[in-house]
Symmetry: C2
Subunit: 650 residues, 2 copies
């Protein structure tokens, strides 16, 4: 598949955009007119630069408001087009995007439109240029790709064809199957964009909220499947207007964009595969035989295939001073499993939940509080770390190799968009990990205290990571494509410093649950977002027993206000003894049609805290109704700390 | 008018919110349930705190999903209500908001709904509580305030009344006139919120985009006029769900909120005044005589009245090192008018355009580059500075008195939300300013060089200020209410670092044009937003002559790329000689149905640059199509500066 991207997707100057596209490895780009008009580079400079950077200039865009106009305006439009065609020959470009008229169209007559488009095609032909005509979703008279293509067929000119843009088609819910009926030679260009499903006017939606494939909710693999079946072999080019991408780091956005096309290519191949099979199976008895598997001229590269991860292998917290972490883990019932043979790391376990304490200051250490504990890495159990790693590399995930000795297990690792390190580990059916043998003789914490029985089968239930606002969509695609996690509909949770957007990514069996939180802006400072607290949650069988043991060991629980328990009672009408237990132990509670959820939180250490949960029945959530309580209490603690610091230092 | 605010409008803990409401001077507050549930304060603490802070607790809210349910759910809902009524008696609150059912309603039967609401009212009565029933705009069966009130009338119980919320009524475009037909005693509560007109689903619109009155586009004065005419005398209380307010400084947001109610009160009085007259004039001959002016029990306080400002009196730029500024102003054709008798400021004039250079570092001087020139203050010509100042003070604008000697003109000044100082000056019909006599003997800049004839009638055309994202809506209300500027529909302009939202505030005669720009987030660092460049534009009669003179004096023009002029020609088909002049002098050009616009920009000094404009015909815009060119060139300069710094220092 030939990959492309429109310069309007990216931030910066035309030169910066072109360089970033080359680094990300695009085959070609679309030049957005405004990027050229505002550039000090001459058309000849741009042409040379593209050649030097090794990609083609595939599309000049857009030419707006051409068709359905009165004669005098048509003449002016043709004059304007002529100037642009001349510019394009200096650029060495042969295809121009012409959008259906939005602003100046006054005559709704397909015959007139066809004649006007014919005049444009004729003029284009004189300059050796092809015109790709596209129906904008909000075009005044033409807003449906089939209508646009009927016009192209009416004109029947070699220099006029169709441009298909997934946003304009899928935002209007047009049926994509008829794409297959279009003569491939008349599909001059294909643009792809994804988007979250929003119910708002389509123009605002298009101009601000488009995202790269895999970051939204459009059925893009199906769209592409039909395009491939039609026989199209040209560029598949991203045209994504997004307020965030327009202000984010250009090289990083270009890589995110390329990852989205690599993923889309794979998904399209899968859709074709699945759909060919369905087609055969669906043949009616007595009907025509299923056609032989059709070959499509577009070559779709596939990636190494991985299954969903089977679970968390470990979570790693970095801390320059590990004492507070050790205390909390011990109080929760974790056992100290010793230090690593060759590295400055400790292993703590509870059942199959493994926490590594890395005795280093977290990165970004110039920031205040950076030496405090922070989540640094997550390990995932996969079938084959080598295959999973190869896949991630092909998806342009930045590798983070970890030093190891000859006889130690080598982890394949990658940096996630928020800079958390993701390691791919060899899973085992019994939930153990071979590498724990690399840790020395365990020294037991809190001798004489029993590990609570509920803890023996403990696992990491979920991990909650804060995402910088510039990299939220990128993170969704990263975990979807590289780790085979499935994004769920997001929730919004109130906190005293603003709404927190909470995006769950999980495996179908829920063995891995990763929660990506988009913190309020004032809790982010652009470079270091971790003023927002992150956490690791462990699931146990008997939360009440776990909490009692932890209390005996002196754990500093997050203190839940009495008002919460009154409200809980008003909502659920709980058994008074049970309610008293919850309140006594600072436990939170939720219930829905599937089951019940009990959980508690520890006080925060650095930017990390821990949660212990018990899922009863088939409860599948995270106690979202309780999140505002947690946020409010944590906020209060933080402010008390801040004000006590102030009163001491001022 | 009794003022109120719901705690959900504000950031922080319940305690912080209550303190901020007291400082802003609200008469009462609504307690949002989640704020109480998440608070360590007991209901009794909250009650005492409110009494100590001097306001009442007017409404407990919300109680959701009560009506239109089957019997078993009704019983559970009544039990839940009973718990909340008991809680309210501990809080000393007597009114609860009950919203029409969204989630659990299954039976669409007004008779059943009335019986269920009657049961609730009866229970409320037992606790001495009143229930205010409100139709949510997205209520499943009840989403219209008239429907909600018909139910209240059917029930006819002293403890059941109506809550009117402007958002739920105006978002659905319900007619507000029938409010006058409601028996005032049955209107238990009135909530107000404004909103920008967005075409999106009403729930998302409501939960994220509400703003305070005067910051949106709803006809709130009319809504309130009908409420007052109905005879309602209870609290008028803000219920504003806004993503930005929820994360902004709580005390500041509370003051912004109070300002919006003070302004709404005045606008409501004006609407009543205007509408009473209209009503009389509209009486049909032979119909009943116009009613005598009706008196309404709600007392509406009025503010000192001011007309629109007549023009800019001056613009002030602060700079620790003034040399670069002096050079640019001199090159533009400004004359140096001497130094002030007692202050370290210089006066530069061109026609009636006056620029004060204040020889001080701009405030916030810890930030890098803070000593560089920045726009610090604007003076506006008003009829009466004293009256305008009194009005601004009543609108809670923070005063910034300026030191002055006995025989000097005293400016009344206020800090705008972005911290620009706004001074109210005595206007004069001939456009002169008396205070210039306080400046010493002029020393002429560039002796022997003529002031270009076009410059003799120069004025400040517009000023463009960057706004921090947390204070954008606040700024719109500030300039609307305190300075009588009118907000125009906003535009969005592309820049290499993201979209810039551009909001024009102007007088009806365009003598004052103030542009508020919301810069991309990465150009803001929360505390100091001025990495985004701001500018002052001067209008002259002959821009070409002004530009030629400036070039002779060596002005460093913002260099416009050649591609721009090619595109200009393609768009407008300009006379070749004129086009050559534009390109030779780095002039930009725009044209619309009303006229033409010529302009050029200087290079940036610190965070300030200057623009010279010529308006031909009735052109009323700002050359918005050219803004991306300016942004791109400025961005390029900034990056070249940054990278040349890098190459020297590394």
């Amino acid at each position: 598949m030939r990959t492309g991207i429109a310069t309007v997707c990216l931030s910066g100057t035309l030169k910066e955009k072109m360089q970033a596209c080359a680094i990300a490895g695009f085959d070609g780009i679309e030049i957005f007119e405004q990027d050229l008009v505002t550039s000090p580079l001459s058309p000849e400079d741009v042409r040379k630069m593209a050649a030097d950077l090794g990609f083609t200039l595939d599309l000049y865009q857009p030419f707006r408001d051409f068709d359905s106009v009165p004669e005098d305006l048509l003449a002016a439009n043709l004059r304007r087009a002529d100037a642009k065609f001349r510019l394009m020959s200096r650029l060495g470009m042969d295809t121009m995007l012409v959008c259906s008229n939005v602003a100046t169209a006054t005559i709704d007559d397909d015959g007139l439109r066809a004649r006007q488009l014919a005049a444009l095609a004729e003029l284009a032909g004189d300059h050796g240029v092809r015109v790709a005509y596209e129906a904008l979703a909000w075009g005044k008279y033409v807003n449906d790709y089939e209508h646009a293509h009927r016009l192209v067929e009416m004109v029947d000119h070699p220099n006029l064809g169709t441009c298909l843009d997934s946003f304009h088609i899928l935002s209007r819910d047009w049926d994509t199957a008829p794409i297959e009926d279009i003569n491939a030679e008349k599909i001059f260009f294909v643009q792809v964009a994804d988007a979250p499903k929003l119910s708002m006017d389509v123009l605002s939606w298009s101009r601000h909220y488009r995202v790269f494939p895999g970051e939204g909710q459009f059925e893009l693999a199906k769209f592409m499947g039909h395009v491939v079946r039609a026989g199209y072999t040209g560029p598949v080019s991203l045209e994504v207007f997004n307020d965030v991408f327009r202000q984010s780091d250009v090289e990083r956005t270009a890589v995110d964009a390329m990852r989205s096309l690599i993923w889309l290519e794979e998904q399209s191949a899968k859709w074709l595969e699945a759909n060919a099979a369905n087609g055969a199976a669906g043949t009616v008895a007595g009907g025509p035989p299923a056609p032989a598997r059709r070959r499509y001229p577009m070559e779709l590269t596939t990636l190494p295939q991985v299954a969903e991860p089977a679970g968390f292998n470990f979570a790693e917290v970095k801390a320059a001073d590990t004492a507070a972490l050790e205390t909390v883990l011990g109080q929760l019932g974790f056992e100290f499993n010793g230090r690593h043979r060759t590295k400055d790391v400790q292993l703590w376990t509870m059942g199959h939940a493994r926490v590594i304490i890395n005795e280093q200051a977290p990165s970004g250490s110039a920031a205040p509080g950076a030496a405090a504990p922070a989540i640094a890495a997550l390990g995932f159990d996969v079938d084959s770390p080598v295959i999973a790693s190869a896949r991630a590399q092909q998806l342009k995930a930045p590798a983070v190799p970890r030093k190891s000795q000859a006889n130690e297990e080598v982890f394949q690792g990658f940096a996630a968009p928020d800079s958390t390190e993701i390691f791919l580990c060899q899973g085992s059916p019994d939930g153990t990990a071979a590498w724990i043998n690399e840790f020395g003789e365990p020294r037991w914490f809190g001798e004489g205290l029993e590990v609570p029985s509920g803890g023996r089968s403990a696992v990491i239930d979920h991990v909650n990571l804060a995402q910088p606002w510039q990299h939220f969509d990128e993170a969704v695609l990263f975990y979807t494509s590289a780790l085979a996690l499935e994004p769920q509909p997001y929730a919004e949770v109130a906190s005293p410093s603003g709404l927190v957007r909470s995006q769950v990514m999980q495996t179908s069996d829920r063995a891995v649950r990763l929660v990506l939180n988009l913190a309020p802006l004032l809790q982010q400072d652009g470079t270091r977002h971790k003023t927002y607290q992150e956490h690791i949650a462990f699931a146990v069988d008997d939360l009440v027993a776990t909490a009692r043991s932890a209390r005996e060991r002196g754990l500093n629980f997050l203190q839940i206000p009495a008002n919460y328990y009154e409200d809980l009672d008003a909502r659920f009408g709980l058994d008074p003894a049970f309610l008293a237990t919850l309140q006594e132990l600072n436990l939170l509670y939720d219930r829905d049609g599937d089951g019940e959820f009990l959980h508690f939180y520890t006080a925060t250490v650095g930017s990390v805290f821990f949660e212990m949960v018990e899922r009863r029945g088939s409860y599948d959530g995270y106690g979202a109704p309780n999140a505002p309580v947690r946020h409010a209490v944590q906020y209060d603690h933080l402010h008390q700390l801040t004000s006590s610091t102030h009163s001491t230092t001022h």
